[in-house]
Amino acid sequence: MTTTAPEAGRSPTGERPRRPGRRPLTLRRRESRAGLALVAPTLLVVVAVIGIPIVWTVVLAFQRVRLATLRRTGLFGELTLDNVDRVLHTPGFADTLWTTVLYSAGGTVGSILVGLVAALVVRRPFRGRTVVRASMLLPYVAPVVAMTFVWQVMLDPQLGFVNDWGRRFLGWDEPVPFLSQESTALWTVIAFEAWRYFPFAFLFLLARLQAVPGELEEAARVDGATPTQRFRYILLPQLMPVIALIGVLRFIMTFNKFDDVYLLTGGSAGTEVVSVRVYQFLTARTDIGAAAAQAVVLAVVLIVFVAIYLRFFGGRREGA
Protein backbone atom coordinates (compact mmCIF):
# COMPACT_ATOMS: atom_id res chain seq x y z
CA MET A 1 0.00 0.00 0.00
CA THR A 2 2.90 2.36 0.46
CA THR A 3 4.99 1.22 -2.46
CA THR A 4 3.51 3.77 -4.87
CA ALA A 5 4.76 7.31 -4.57
CA PRO A 6 1.71 9.46 -5.35
CA GLU A 7 3.08 12.95 -4.85
CA ALA A 8 6.17 14.91 -4.00
CA GLY A 9 6.92 14.46 -0.34
CA ARG A 10 6.45 17.34 2.06
CA SER A 11 7.83 15.53 5.02
CA PRO A 12 11.19 16.57 6.34
CA THR A 13 12.46 13.02 6.28
CA GLY A 14 10.72 12.14 3.02
CA GLU A 15 12.55 14.74 0.99
CA ARG A 16 15.99 13.32 1.34
CA PRO A 17 17.49 12.27 -1.97
CA ARG A 18 16.55 8.74 -2.91
CA ARG A 19 19.24 6.15 -3.02
CA PRO A 20 18.86 3.08 -5.20
CA GLY A 21 17.78 -0.13 -3.54
CA ARG A 22 15.23 -0.69 -0.83
CA ARG A 23 16.03 2.15 1.55
CA PRO A 24 13.52 4.74 0.20
CA LEU A 25 10.81 2.16 0.57
CA THR A 26 11.51 1.61 4.22
CA LEU A 27 11.63 5.36 4.77
CA ARG A 28 8.23 5.70 3.20
CA ARG A 29 6.96 2.84 5.24
CA ARG A 30 8.34 4.32 8.39
CA GLU A 31 6.74 7.67 7.58
CA SER A 32 3.45 5.98 6.93
CA ARG A 33 3.62 4.15 10.24
CA ALA A 34 4.49 7.33 12.12
CA GLY A 35 1.61 9.11 10.44
CA LEU A 36 -0.87 6.44 11.36
CA ALA A 37 0.41 6.29 14.91
CA LEU A 38 0.12 10.04 15.37
CA VAL A 39 -3.33 10.24 13.88
CA ALA A 40 -4.59 7.13 15.66
CA PRO A 41 -5.81 8.79 18.88
CA THR A 42 -7.82 11.34 16.89
CA LEU A 43 -9.34 8.63 14.72
CA LEU A 44 -10.06 6.44 17.70
CA VAL A 45 -12.01 9.15 19.52
CA VAL A 46 -13.92 10.30 16.45
CA VAL A 47 -14.81 6.78 15.38
CA ALA A 48 -15.71 5.59 18.87
CA VAL A 49 -17.71 8.58 20.04
CA ILE A 50 -19.16 9.76 16.72
CA GLY A 51 -18.75 7.14 14.00
CA ILE A 52 -20.02 4.06 15.80
CA PRO A 53 -22.95 5.92 17.41
CA ILE A 54 -24.08 7.14 13.99
CA VAL A 55 -24.07 3.60 12.60
CA TRP A 56 -25.75 2.31 15.72
CA THR A 57 -28.50 4.92 15.46
CA VAL A 58 -29.23 3.68 11.97
CA VAL A 59 -29.49 0.12 13.31
CA LEU A 60 -31.65 1.22 16.23
CA ALA A 61 -33.98 2.95 13.82
CA PHE A 62 -34.92 -0.46 12.47
CA GLN A 63 -35.31 -2.21 15.81
CA ARG A 64 -38.12 -2.34 18.29
CA VAL A 65 -36.38 -0.81 21.31
CA ARG A 66 -37.42 1.00 24.41
CA LEU A 67 -35.12 1.99 27.21
CA ALA A 68 -36.71 -0.66 29.43
CA THR A 69 -36.25 -3.48 26.89
CA LEU A 70 -32.80 -2.41 25.82
CA ARG A 71 -30.93 -5.08 27.76
CA ARG A 72 -32.65 -7.80 25.80
CA THR A 73 -32.01 -6.33 22.35
CA GLY A 74 -28.65 -7.07 20.80
CA LEU A 75 -26.94 -4.91 18.24
CA PHE A 76 -28.21 -7.12 15.45
CA GLY A 77 -31.56 -8.08 16.85
CA GLU A 78 -34.63 -8.46 14.74
CA LEU A 79 -34.87 -5.71 12.14
CA THR A 80 -38.16 -4.06 11.30
CA LEU A 81 -39.46 -1.14 9.29
CA ASP A 82 -41.98 -0.51 12.02
CA ASN A 83 -40.33 2.58 13.50
CA VAL A 84 -39.83 4.36 10.21
CA ASP A 85 -43.36 3.54 9.21
CA ARG A 86 -44.74 4.74 12.53
CA VAL A 87 -42.65 7.91 12.51
CA LEU A 88 -43.67 8.86 9.00
CA HIS A 89 -47.33 8.37 9.83
CA THR A 90 -47.44 9.93 13.28
CA PRO A 91 -49.57 13.04 13.16
CA GLY A 92 -47.41 16.13 13.25
CA PHE A 93 -44.33 14.67 11.63
CA ALA A 94 -44.84 16.47 8.32
CA ASP A 95 -45.48 19.73 10.21
CA THR A 96 -42.30 19.26 12.19
CA LEU A 97 -40.30 18.68 9.05
CA TRP A 98 -41.80 21.75 7.39
CA THR A 99 -41.09 23.85 10.48
CA THR A 100 -37.50 22.63 10.44
CA VAL A 101 -37.09 23.62 6.78
CA LEU A 102 -38.64 27.06 7.35
CA TYR A 103 -36.54 27.61 10.45
CA SER A 104 -33.30 26.56 8.72
CA ALA A 105 -33.95 28.56 5.57
CA GLY A 106 -35.09 31.62 7.51
CA GLY A 107 -32.19 31.46 9.93
CA THR A 108 -29.67 30.96 7.12
CA VAL A 109 -30.93 33.75 4.87
CA GLY A 110 -31.41 36.12 7.80
CA SER A 111 -27.98 35.60 9.28
CA ILE A 112 -26.25 35.94 5.89
CA LEU A 113 -28.11 39.16 4.98
CA VAL A 114 -27.41 40.78 8.33
CA GLY A 115 -23.81 39.55 8.21
CA LEU A 116 -23.37 40.99 4.71
CA VAL A 117 -24.60 44.43 5.80
CA ALA A 118 -22.35 44.27 8.85
CA ALA A 119 -19.32 43.33 6.76
CA LEU A 120 -19.99 46.16 4.29
CA VAL A 121 -20.27 48.87 6.96
CA VAL A 122 -17.11 47.98 8.88
CA ARG A 123 -15.10 47.24 5.79
CA ARG A 124 -13.17 50.49 5.71
CA PRO A 125 -11.17 51.70 8.70
CA PHE A 126 -12.75 54.23 11.04
CA ARG A 127 -12.17 55.26 14.61
CA GLY A 128 -13.36 52.58 17.02
CA ARG A 129 -13.56 49.92 14.32
CA THR A 130 -11.90 47.26 16.45
CA VAL A 131 -14.44 47.80 19.21
CA VAL A 132 -17.36 47.66 16.79
CA ARG A 133 -16.01 44.50 15.19
CA ALA A 134 -15.47 42.77 18.51
CA SER A 135 -18.92 43.68 19.81
CA MET A 136 -20.49 42.36 16.62
CA LEU A 137 -18.98 38.96 17.36
CA LEU A 138 -20.31 38.77 20.90
CA PRO A 139 -23.73 37.20 20.17
CA TYR A 140 -21.98 34.30 18.49
CA VAL A 141 -19.48 33.48 21.24
CA ALA A 142 -21.69 34.04 24.26
CA PRO A 143 -23.27 30.94 25.86
CA VAL A 144 -26.53 29.96 24.19
CA VAL A 145 -28.28 29.35 27.50
CA ALA A 146 -27.59 32.89 28.70
CA MET A 147 -28.61 34.44 25.39
CA THR A 148 -31.89 32.55 25.10
CA PHE A 149 -32.68 33.41 28.70
CA VAL A 150 -32.09 37.12 28.13
CA TRP A 151 -34.28 37.03 25.03
CA GLN A 152 -37.00 35.24 26.95
CA VAL A 153 -37.01 37.85 29.71
CA MET A 154 -36.66 40.71 27.22
CA LEU A 155 -39.76 39.55 25.34
CA ASP A 156 -41.70 38.50 28.42
CA PRO A 157 -45.23 40.02 28.53
CA GLN A 158 -44.90 41.10 32.17
CA LEU A 159 -41.21 41.58 32.88
CA GLY A 160 -39.71 42.42 29.52
CA PHE A 161 -38.85 45.91 28.38
CA VAL A 162 -39.93 45.21 24.79
CA ASN A 163 -43.60 44.90 25.69
CA ASP A 164 -43.36 47.81 28.10
CA TRP A 165 -41.92 50.03 25.41
CA GLY A 166 -44.32 48.72 22.80
CA ARG A 167 -47.25 49.78 24.92
CA ARG A 168 -45.76 53.09 25.92
CA PHE A 169 -44.31 54.22 22.61
CA LEU A 170 -45.89 52.12 19.86
CA GLY A 171 -49.42 52.04 21.19
CA TRP A 172 -49.80 48.26 21.55
CA ASP A 173 -53.06 47.50 23.33
CA GLU A 174 -52.00 44.15 24.71
CA PRO A 175 -48.58 42.75 25.57
CA VAL A 176 -47.41 40.40 22.81
CA PRO A 177 -46.39 36.93 24.04
CA PHE A 178 -43.77 36.62 21.30
CA LEU A 179 -42.55 33.17 22.20
CA SER A 180 -45.80 31.49 23.15
CA GLN A 181 -48.31 32.36 20.42
CA GLU A 182 -48.37 30.54 17.10
CA SER A 183 -48.37 33.66 14.92
CA THR A 184 -45.09 35.07 16.25
CA ALA A 185 -43.12 32.23 17.87
CA LEU A 186 -41.43 30.82 14.77
CA TRP A 187 -40.54 34.29 13.48
CA THR A 188 -39.10 35.24 16.84
CA VAL A 189 -36.98 32.11 16.86
CA ILE A 190 -35.77 32.88 13.33
CA ALA A 191 -34.96 36.45 14.38
CA PHE A 192 -32.96 35.06 17.28
CA GLU A 193 -31.13 32.80 14.86
CA ALA A 194 -30.27 35.74 12.59
CA TRP A 195 -29.13 37.79 15.59
CA ARG A 196 -26.99 35.07 17.08
CA TYR A 197 -25.37 33.71 13.94
CA PHE A 198 -24.85 36.76 11.72
CA PRO A 199 -21.31 37.10 13.14
CA PHE A 200 -20.40 33.82 11.49
CA ALA A 201 -21.30 35.17 8.03
CA PHE A 202 -19.85 38.55 8.96
CA LEU A 203 -16.42 37.10 9.78
CA PHE A 204 -16.04 35.17 6.56
CA LEU A 205 -17.49 37.92 4.36
CA LEU A 206 -15.26 40.56 5.94
CA ALA A 207 -12.18 38.41 5.37
CA ARG A 208 -13.19 37.94 1.74
CA LEU A 209 -14.03 41.64 1.23
CA GLN A 210 -10.62 42.64 2.49
CA ALA A 211 -9.00 40.38 -0.06
CA VAL A 212 -10.77 42.05 -3.02
CA PRO A 213 -8.05 43.96 -4.87
CA GLY A 214 -8.48 47.73 -4.54
CA GLU A 215 -7.67 48.28 -8.22
CA LEU A 216 -10.86 46.54 -9.28
CA GLU A 217 -13.05 49.07 -7.51
CA GLU A 218 -10.77 51.93 -8.45
CA ALA A 219 -11.08 51.05 -12.12
CA ALA A 220 -14.87 50.87 -11.82
CA ARG A 221 -14.93 54.22 -10.10
CA VAL A 222 -12.88 55.79 -12.88
CA ASP A 223 -15.34 54.33 -15.37
CA GLY A 224 -18.11 56.15 -13.52
CA ALA A 225 -19.69 53.35 -11.49
CA THR A 226 -21.63 54.63 -8.47
CA PRO A 227 -21.19 52.97 -5.07
CA THR A 228 -24.29 50.79 -5.48
CA GLN A 229 -23.19 49.77 -8.94
CA ARG A 230 -19.74 48.94 -7.65
CA PHE A 231 -21.34 46.73 -5.05
CA ARG A 232 -23.66 45.05 -7.52
CA TYR A 233 -21.13 44.42 -10.31
CA ILE A 234 -17.76 44.26 -8.55
CA LEU A 235 -18.13 43.18 -4.93
CA LEU A 236 -21.14 40.89 -5.06
CA PRO A 237 -19.73 38.59 -7.77
CA GLN A 238 -16.53 38.37 -5.75
CA LEU A 239 -18.48 37.43 -2.65
CA MET A 240 -20.84 34.93 -4.26
CA PRO A 241 -18.69 31.80 -3.78
CA VAL A 242 -18.20 32.60 -0.09
CA ILE A 243 -21.91 33.33 0.33
CA ALA A 244 -22.73 29.99 -1.27
CA LEU A 245 -20.34 28.21 1.08
CA ILE A 246 -21.63 29.96 4.20
CA GLY A 247 -25.14 29.19 3.00
CA VAL A 248 -24.53 25.43 3.01
CA LEU A 249 -22.69 25.49 6.31
CA ARG A 250 -25.32 27.56 8.08
CA PHE A 251 -28.16 25.53 6.62
CA ILE A 252 -26.60 22.30 7.86
CA MET A 253 -25.89 23.72 11.29
CA THR A 254 -29.34 25.26 11.69
CA PHE A 255 -31.08 22.14 10.42
CA ASN A 256 -29.32 20.11 13.11
CA LYS A 257 -29.82 22.68 15.81
CA PHE A 258 -31.44 21.68 19.07
CA ASP A 259 -30.41 24.17 21.79
CA ASP A 260 -31.89 27.37 20.46
CA VAL A 261 -35.44 26.19 19.84
CA TYR A 262 -35.53 23.97 22.90
CA LEU A 263 -34.37 26.75 25.17
CA LEU A 264 -36.52 29.51 23.67
CA THR A 265 -39.86 27.76 23.32
CA GLY A 266 -39.35 24.11 24.25
CA GLY A 267 -40.83 23.32 20.84
CA SER A 268 -44.27 24.72 21.65
CA ALA A 269 -46.37 27.20 19.64
CA GLY A 270 -45.54 25.71 16.26
CA THR A 271 -41.77 25.76 16.65
CA GLU A 272 -41.16 22.04 17.08
CA VAL A 273 -38.17 21.16 14.91
CA VAL A 274 -37.11 17.58 14.27
CA SER A 275 -34.21 17.52 16.75
CA VAL A 276 -36.49 18.73 19.56
CA ARG A 277 -39.00 16.05 18.63
CA VAL A 278 -36.28 13.39 18.72
CA TYR A 279 -35.36 14.59 22.18
CA GLN A 280 -38.98 14.34 23.34
CA PHE A 281 -39.26 10.79 22.04
CA LEU A 282 -36.00 9.86 23.70
CA THR A 283 -36.66 11.30 27.15
CA ALA A 284 -40.40 11.67 27.64
CA ARG A 285 -41.48 8.46 25.89
CA THR A 286 -38.16 6.59 26.16
CA ASP A 287 -39.00 5.18 22.74
CA ILE A 288 -35.46 4.77 21.46
CA GLY A 289 -36.45 3.08 18.22
CA ALA A 290 -38.77 5.88 17.18
CA ALA A 291 -36.30 8.54 18.28
CA ALA A 292 -33.55 6.92 16.21
CA ALA A 293 -35.85 6.59 13.22
CA GLN A 294 -36.66 10.30 13.36
CA ALA A 295 -33.00 11.21 13.70
CA VAL A 296 -32.20 9.08 10.65
CA VAL A 297 -35.01 10.71 8.67
CA LEU A 298 -33.57 14.09 9.68
CA ALA A 299 -30.10 13.13 8.48
CA VAL A 300 -31.41 11.69 5.21
CA VAL A 301 -33.45 14.82 4.43
CA LEU A 302 -30.42 16.97 5.16
CA ILE A 303 -28.17 14.87 2.93
CA VAL A 304 -30.71 15.11 0.11
CA PHE A 305 -30.89 18.90 0.47
CA VAL A 306 -27.14 19.31 0.48
CA ALA A 307 -26.76 16.96 -2.48
CA ILE A 308 -29.31 18.96 -4.48
CA TYR A 309 -27.60 22.19 -3.50
CA LEU A 310 -24.15 20.95 -4.50
CA ARG A 311 -25.55 19.59 -7.76
CA PHE A 312 -26.90 23.01 -8.76
CA PHE A 313 -24.52 25.48 -7.15
CA GLY A 314 -21.33 23.48 -6.78
CA GLY A 315 -21.18 22.79 -10.51
CA ARG A 316 -21.93 26.33 -11.52
CA ARG A 317 -19.20 27.69 -9.32
CA GLU A 318 -16.61 25.49 -10.95
CA GLY A 319 -17.82 26.46 -14.40
CA ALA A 320 -17.59 30.20 -13.70
Binding site: T2, T42, L137, P143, T226, Q238, N256
Partner: protein, 288 residues
Amino acid sequence: MDRDRIETVSLRWLRRLVIAAFLVVTLLPFWYMLVLSVRPIERLLLDPGSLLVPFGELTVATYAEVLKSVEDGGQGFLAFIRNSGIVALAATALTLVIAIPGAYAVSRLRFFGRRQVSALFLAVYLFPSIVIAIPLFVVFTRAGLRGSLVGLVLVYISQTLPVSVYMLKNYFETIPVSLEESAAIDGAGRLGIIRRVSLPLAAPSVMAVALYDFMIAWNEFLFALLFLVDRPNRWTVSLGLSLLADGVEVPKTVLMAGSVILTLPIVILFLASERLLTEGLTSGAEKG
Protein backbone atom coordinates in the same frame (compact mmCIF):
# COMPACT_ATOMS: atom_id res chain seq x y z
CA MET B 1 -21.49 62.94 -11.20
CA ASP B 2 -24.87 63.71 -9.60
CA ARG B 3 -25.96 60.18 -8.90
CA ASP B 4 -22.50 59.23 -7.73
CA ARG B 5 -22.36 62.26 -5.42
CA ILE B 6 -25.82 61.63 -3.98
CA GLU B 7 -25.08 57.97 -3.41
CA THR B 8 -21.71 58.62 -1.84
CA VAL B 9 -23.02 61.21 0.58
CA SER B 10 -26.16 59.35 1.56
CA LEU B 11 -24.30 56.08 1.93
CA ARG B 12 -21.79 57.77 4.19
CA TRP B 13 -24.61 58.79 6.54
CA LEU B 14 -26.42 55.52 6.18
CA ARG B 15 -23.24 53.71 7.10
CA ARG B 16 -22.89 55.62 10.38
CA LEU B 17 -26.52 54.99 11.16
CA VAL B 18 -26.22 51.27 10.45
CA ILE B 19 -23.09 50.93 12.58
CA ALA B 20 -24.90 52.62 15.47
CA ALA B 21 -27.89 50.33 14.98
CA PHE B 22 -25.65 47.27 14.97
CA LEU B 23 -23.99 48.36 18.20
CA VAL B 24 -27.37 48.81 19.88
CA VAL B 25 -28.80 45.52 18.64
CA THR B 26 -25.78 43.39 19.52
CA LEU B 27 -24.95 44.99 22.87
CA LEU B 28 -28.42 45.74 24.22
CA PRO B 29 -29.18 42.18 25.40
CA PHE B 30 -25.85 42.09 27.24
CA TRP B 31 -26.49 45.47 28.83
CA TYR B 32 -30.03 44.43 29.74
CA MET B 33 -28.69 41.27 31.37
CA LEU B 34 -26.25 43.31 33.45
CA VAL B 35 -28.89 45.85 34.50
CA LEU B 36 -31.44 43.23 35.52
CA SER B 37 -28.85 41.30 37.52
CA VAL B 38 -28.41 44.20 39.94
CA ARG B 39 -32.07 45.22 40.36
CA PRO B 40 -34.39 43.79 43.02
CA ILE B 41 -37.25 41.77 41.51
CA GLU B 42 -40.01 43.87 43.16
CA ARG B 43 -38.67 47.01 41.50
CA LEU B 44 -38.43 45.25 38.15
CA LEU B 45 -42.10 44.25 38.31
CA LEU B 46 -43.08 47.88 38.97
CA ASP B 47 -40.91 49.36 36.23
CA PRO B 48 -40.03 46.77 33.57
CA GLY B 49 -39.13 49.34 30.91
CA SER B 50 -36.09 50.82 32.56
CA LEU B 51 -32.77 50.16 30.85
CA LEU B 52 -30.78 51.88 33.55
CA VAL B 53 -30.53 51.02 37.21
CA PRO B 54 -32.71 53.64 38.87
CA PHE B 55 -30.95 55.56 41.63
CA GLY B 56 -30.83 53.72 44.93
CA GLU B 57 -31.93 50.37 43.50
CA LEU B 58 -28.50 48.87 42.97
CA THR B 59 -28.12 45.55 44.77
CA VAL B 60 -25.68 42.67 44.67
CA ALA B 61 -27.87 40.43 46.80
CA THR B 62 -28.82 38.63 43.58
CA TYR B 63 -25.21 37.54 43.11
CA ALA B 64 -24.94 36.42 46.71
CA GLU B 65 -28.09 34.37 46.37
CA VAL B 66 -27.16 32.72 43.09
CA LEU B 67 -23.66 31.79 44.27
CA LYS B 68 -24.55 30.47 47.72
CA SER B 69 -24.97 26.74 48.10
CA VAL B 70 -28.46 25.27 48.24
CA GLU B 71 -28.06 24.45 51.94
CA ASP B 72 -27.45 28.13 52.66
CA GLY B 73 -30.57 29.12 50.79
CA GLY B 74 -28.82 30.00 47.53
CA GLN B 75 -28.87 28.42 44.08
CA GLY B 76 -25.50 26.69 44.27
CA PHE B 77 -23.84 28.29 41.24
CA LEU B 78 -20.43 28.10 42.86
CA ALA B 79 -20.58 24.31 42.51
CA PHE B 80 -21.82 24.67 38.90
CA ILE B 81 -18.88 26.94 38.11
CA ARG B 82 -16.52 24.33 39.53
CA ASN B 83 -18.13 21.57 37.44
CA SER B 84 -18.08 23.65 34.26
CA GLY B 85 -14.49 24.67 34.92
CA ILE B 86 -13.29 21.12 35.46
CA VAL B 87 -15.09 19.79 32.41
CA ALA B 88 -13.99 22.61 30.12
CA LEU B 89 -10.35 22.57 31.22
CA ALA B 90 -10.07 18.79 31.05
CA ALA B 91 -11.72 18.68 27.61
CA THR B 92 -9.45 21.45 26.32
CA ALA B 93 -6.24 19.86 27.59
CA LEU B 94 -7.10 16.39 26.30
CA THR B 95 -8.28 17.70 22.93
CA LEU B 96 -4.96 19.46 22.45
CA VAL B 97 -2.95 16.38 23.44
CA ILE B 98 -4.85 14.32 20.87
CA ALA B 99 -5.22 16.95 18.15
CA ILE B 100 -1.63 18.20 17.93
CA PRO B 101 -0.02 14.91 16.79
CA GLY B 102 -3.04 14.22 14.58
CA ALA B 103 -2.87 17.60 12.89
CA TYR B 104 0.87 17.26 12.42
CA ALA B 105 0.46 13.88 10.80
CA VAL B 106 -2.26 15.10 8.44
CA SER B 107 -0.23 18.14 7.41
CA ARG B 108 3.19 16.54 7.03
CA LEU B 109 3.25 12.78 6.74
CA ARG B 110 2.09 10.63 3.89
CA PHE B 111 0.18 7.69 5.19
CA PHE B 112 -2.51 5.36 4.00
CA GLY B 113 -5.88 7.07 4.19
CA ARG B 114 -4.58 10.58 4.84
CA ARG B 115 -7.01 12.18 2.43
CA GLN B 116 -9.91 10.19 3.81
CA VAL B 117 -9.33 11.56 7.30
CA SER B 118 -10.40 15.08 6.32
CA ALA B 119 -13.41 13.77 4.40
CA LEU B 120 -14.45 11.69 7.40
CA PHE B 121 -14.38 14.75 9.64
CA LEU B 122 -16.54 16.71 7.22
CA ALA B 123 -19.03 13.87 6.89
CA VAL B 124 -19.32 13.70 10.65
CA TYR B 125 -20.53 17.29 10.71
CA LEU B 126 -23.47 16.45 8.49
CA PHE B 127 -25.06 14.49 11.30
CA PRO B 128 -27.03 16.23 13.99
CA SER B 129 -25.57 15.80 17.45
CA ILE B 130 -28.93 14.41 18.53
CA VAL B 131 -28.18 11.41 16.26
CA ILE B 132 -25.05 10.47 18.18
CA ALA B 133 -26.76 11.41 21.43
CA ILE B 134 -29.09 8.40 21.32
CA PRO B 135 -26.50 5.57 21.36
CA LEU B 136 -24.26 7.54 23.70
CA PHE B 137 -27.22 7.91 26.05
CA VAL B 138 -27.72 4.15 25.87
CA VAL B 139 -24.04 3.19 26.22
CA PHE B 140 -23.36 5.67 28.99
CA THR B 141 -26.41 4.45 30.86
CA ARG B 142 -25.10 0.91 30.68
CA ALA B 143 -21.49 1.76 31.47
CA GLY B 144 -22.48 3.94 34.38
CA LEU B 145 -20.90 6.97 32.73
CA ARG B 146 -24.21 8.81 32.55
CA GLY B 147 -24.29 11.27 35.38
CA SER B 148 -20.51 11.51 35.50
CA LEU B 149 -18.37 14.38 34.31
CA VAL B 150 -15.95 11.93 32.66
CA GLY B 151 -18.54 10.95 30.07
CA LEU B 152 -19.21 14.59 29.32
CA VAL B 153 -15.51 15.33 28.84
CA LEU B 154 -15.26 12.44 26.40
CA VAL B 155 -18.16 13.77 24.33
CA TYR B 156 -16.76 17.31 24.32
CA ILE B 157 -13.40 16.05 23.09
CA SER B 158 -15.07 14.31 20.18
CA GLN B 159 -17.10 17.44 19.38
CA THR B 160 -14.11 19.78 19.27
CA LEU B 161 -11.51 17.45 17.74
CA PRO B 162 -12.38 17.84 14.04
CA VAL B 163 -12.23 21.65 14.05
CA SER B 164 -9.15 21.63 16.27
CA VAL B 165 -7.29 19.29 13.93
CA TYR B 166 -8.38 21.37 10.95
CA MET B 167 -7.20 24.68 12.44
CA LEU B 168 -3.89 23.25 13.62
CA LYS B 169 -3.30 21.50 10.33
CA ASN B 170 -3.71 24.77 8.44
CA TYR B 171 -1.14 26.37 10.67
CA PHE B 172 1.38 23.52 10.53
CA GLU B 173 1.25 23.72 6.76
CA THR B 174 2.54 27.31 6.86
CA ILE B 175 5.68 26.31 8.77
CA PRO B 176 8.57 25.82 6.35
CA VAL B 177 9.57 22.18 6.04
CA SER B 178 13.23 23.19 5.93
CA LEU B 179 13.12 24.11 9.62
CA GLU B 180 12.04 20.61 10.50
CA GLU B 181 14.53 19.12 8.10
CA SER B 182 17.42 20.83 9.82
CA ALA B 183 16.18 19.50 13.14
CA ALA B 184 15.94 16.03 11.59
CA ILE B 185 19.50 16.31 10.30
CA ASP B 186 20.60 17.30 13.77
CA GLY B 187 19.23 13.98 14.88
CA ALA B 188 15.84 14.87 16.34
CA GLY B 189 13.17 12.20 16.16
CA ARG B 190 9.61 12.74 14.97
CA LEU B 191 8.22 13.61 18.39
CA GLY B 192 11.25 15.75 19.15
CA ILE B 193 10.61 17.74 15.97
CA ILE B 194 6.99 18.29 16.93
CA ARG B 195 7.84 19.32 20.46
CA ARG B 196 10.91 21.47 19.79
CA VAL B 197 10.21 22.97 16.36
CA SER B 198 6.59 22.82 15.23
CA LEU B 199 4.88 23.41 18.54
CA PRO B 200 6.75 26.57 19.59
CA LEU B 201 6.20 28.03 16.13
CA ALA B 202 2.52 27.16 16.24
CA ALA B 203 2.02 28.56 19.75
CA PRO B 204 -0.43 31.33 18.71
CA SER B 205 -2.52 28.85 16.80
CA VAL B 206 -2.46 26.33 19.64
CA MET B 207 -3.63 29.13 21.93
CA ALA B 208 -6.50 29.95 19.57
CA VAL B 209 -7.55 26.30 19.40
CA ALA B 210 -7.42 26.01 23.18
CA LEU B 211 -9.68 29.03 23.59
CA TYR B 212 -12.08 27.70 20.99
CA ASP B 213 -12.26 24.31 22.72
CA PHE B 214 -12.76 25.92 26.12
CA MET B 215 -15.60 28.09 24.86
CA ILE B 216 -17.39 25.18 23.17
CA ALA B 217 -17.13 23.04 26.30
CA TRP B 218 -18.15 25.85 28.65
CA ASN B 219 -21.18 26.80 26.53
CA GLU B 220 -22.40 23.30 25.68
CA PHE B 221 -25.94 22.41 26.66
CA LEU B 222 -27.50 19.37 24.96
CA PHE B 223 -25.19 16.65 26.25
CA ALA B 224 -25.06 18.15 29.72
CA LEU B 225 -28.85 18.03 29.70
CA LEU B 226 -28.99 14.44 28.48
CA PHE B 227 -26.39 13.04 30.85
CA LEU B 228 -26.60 15.10 34.01
CA VAL B 229 -30.18 16.22 34.37
CA ASP B 230 -30.95 14.03 37.41
CA ARG B 231 -27.66 14.78 39.20
CA PRO B 232 -28.00 18.35 40.56
CA ASN B 233 -24.57 18.29 42.20
CA ARG B 234 -22.93 17.66 38.82
CA TRP B 235 -24.77 20.37 36.87
CA THR B 236 -22.74 22.73 34.73
CA VAL B 237 -23.51 26.44 34.76
CA SER B 238 -25.39 26.23 31.44
CA LEU B 239 -27.50 23.32 32.57
CA GLY B 240 -28.19 24.76 36.01
CA LEU B 241 -29.28 28.09 34.60
CA SER B 242 -31.60 26.56 32.01
CA LEU B 243 -33.24 24.18 34.47
CA LEU B 244 -33.78 26.86 37.10
CA ALA B 245 -35.13 29.23 34.45
CA ASP B 246 -37.83 26.68 33.59
CA GLY B 247 -39.38 26.92 37.05
CA VAL B 248 -41.07 29.91 38.61
CA GLU B 249 -39.57 29.73 42.10
CA VAL B 250 -36.32 31.56 41.41
CA PRO B 251 -36.64 35.30 40.68
CA LYS B 252 -35.54 36.28 37.20
CA THR B 253 -33.14 38.89 38.52
CA VAL B 254 -31.28 36.21 40.47
CA LEU B 255 -31.06 34.10 37.33
CA MET B 256 -29.81 37.14 35.43
CA ALA B 257 -26.95 37.28 37.91
CA GLY B 258 -26.43 33.60 37.02
CA SER B 259 -26.29 34.37 33.32
CA VAL B 260 -23.81 37.16 33.89
CA ILE B 261 -21.65 34.61 35.73
CA LEU B 262 -22.06 32.19 32.83
CA THR B 263 -21.31 34.79 30.17
CA LEU B 264 -18.56 36.85 31.75
CA PRO B 265 -15.66 34.34 31.52
CA ILE B 266 -16.41 33.77 27.86
CA VAL B 267 -16.67 37.46 27.01
CA ILE B 268 -13.43 38.24 28.85
CA LEU B 269 -11.59 35.37 27.17
CA PHE B 270 -12.98 36.40 23.81
CA LEU B 271 -12.13 40.10 24.09
CA ALA B 272 -8.62 39.25 25.28
CA SER B 273 -7.99 37.04 22.29
CA GLU B 274 -10.35 38.26 19.59
CA ARG B 275 -7.70 38.82 16.94
CA LEU B 276 -6.09 35.45 17.56
CA LEU B 277 -9.38 33.60 17.36
CA THR B 278 -10.89 35.22 14.30
CA GLU B 279 -7.68 34.81 12.34
CA GLY B 280 -7.43 31.16 13.32
CA LEU B 281 -10.97 30.41 12.24
CA THR B 282 -11.04 32.27 8.95
CA SER B 283 -7.51 31.65 7.77
CA GLY B 284 -7.77 30.37 4.25
CA ALA B 285 -11.22 31.89 3.74
CA GLU B 286 -9.88 34.87 1.81
CA LYS B 287 -8.62 32.57 -0.90
CA GLY B 288 -12.23 32.22 -1.88
